[in-house]
Amino acid sequence: MLKIKNYVKAESLEQAYELNQKRSNRILGGMLWMKMSNAQIQTAIDLSGLGLNEIEETDESFRIGCMVTLRQLELHEGLNTWFDHMMQNSVKDIVGVQFRNLATVGGSIFGRFGFSDVLTAFLALDTEVELFHAGILPLREFVTMPRDNDILVRLIVKKTPGAYAYLCHRNVRTDFPVLAAGFACTKEGVRITVGARPKKAMLLTVSEDMAAKIREGVCSEEEIARIAASLAKEVPMESNLRAGKEYRSHLAEVLICRGLGILQERGPKE
């Protein structure tokens, strides 16, 4: 059972950062995962009073505060329009609306959970992470870093024109995914992320010539199937209660094949 001795509603990020340097103190996100633990927390640090619960849209990017809920991501018109409903599709099967009204973007990303649909989706986009102490760095770099006592302040998602998609497979709706995959086709190339393998999401890239063919919509079904088969082999899978690694490998091939088909169908956006 989670035990908390003191509770501080932070008045500034500086104060929250200072408090968070003590190992027995902890930042609260939506606290849905933390609540399941037996942690003994000296001081719980609440960031909900710092105005970090907004999605700010600028000409170049979306700036998503760490306390933004998954439900806000799901309903945000700008994000859905820009990224072909990718964020909405990535969160819509996460338990229920009541859960998504609590779970936060910061908690999902900072935890770098293997099962995370949210991490899988953002990693496929051109996303940066703003940390209070370490500054701004690409999400792909952040996912490989060990956990420390920094604070994830916000995500910055670049508005890169392109086609986007999100696919996942669940044994039961509202359960963790058996496998999840995010897709982005932009001028820079085709990015694919595979998560819930069951380890945390990893990034794959398609060769430049094939990416160009997908962008132009001239890749044959056989070529897409070949790319999918080859990329699926690159993804290390493991078994757990939900599925075996062989099944996950097969599923990866299927999802990548479908995802590339969707990207090709949607075509490039200027």
């Binding site: 509770y7 609540k35 399941m36 927390i41 819509k92 229920g96 009541q98 609590l102 709706r173 509202t174």
Partner: protein
């Protein structure tokens, strides 16, 4: 620590432990419609509104409700009774344990989307589990209620 909040329209101030969960807080205040079910944030039995949004009271600290409005089924008497009658008409509740959470979340849906499709109802209520029924009775009850509302509230 001291918190001050609106509970079902009444302002209250209480001294609480920092790790008190909202479900325990509202039950201590006599709101027994809020039930403890799965304890893993998955069943929806403990649904309350926090500033009009449905949340799982088993998964949020009472401290987080400081300065906010919390509403339980007890605070929605008329609205809940009106809709609950349609659930009862279908015999949908069976054991009835899931009913308060289901009614809270259905009301949240109707407020957000007054004319939902069947798929939208299923999506919105995906976080409310019922182990007696196959959800068909609840769905029929919701559809009948929406039809009643469309007809201007006349049976």
């Amino acid at each position: 620590m001291k918190i001050s909040l609106m509970l079902n329209g009444t302002k209250i101030e209480r001294e609480i432990a920092p790790d008190l969960l909202l479900i325990d807080f509202v039950r201590e205040e006599g709101c027994y419609s809020v039930k403890r079910g799965c304890e893993t944030s998955g069943c929806g039995l403990c649904t309350v509104f926090l500033d009009e949004k449905p949340v799982l009271s088993c998964s949020v600290l009472a401290a987080r409700a400081d300065g906010h409005a919390v509403t339980t089924l007890e605070g929605l008497q008329k609205e809940a009774e009106e809709f609950g009658a349609f659930i009862a008409d279908q015999g949908a509740e069976q054991c009835g344990f899931c009913n308060p959470g289901m009614i809270m979340n259905a009301i949240a849906l109707f407020r957000e989307n007054p004319d939902p499709t069947e798929e939208e109802m299923k999506e919105y209520l995906a976080g409310n589990l019922c182990r007696c029924s196959g959800y068909e009775g609840q769905l029929r009850g919701m559809k009948a209620f929406l039809e009643y509302k469309k007809q201007g509230g006349a049976v």
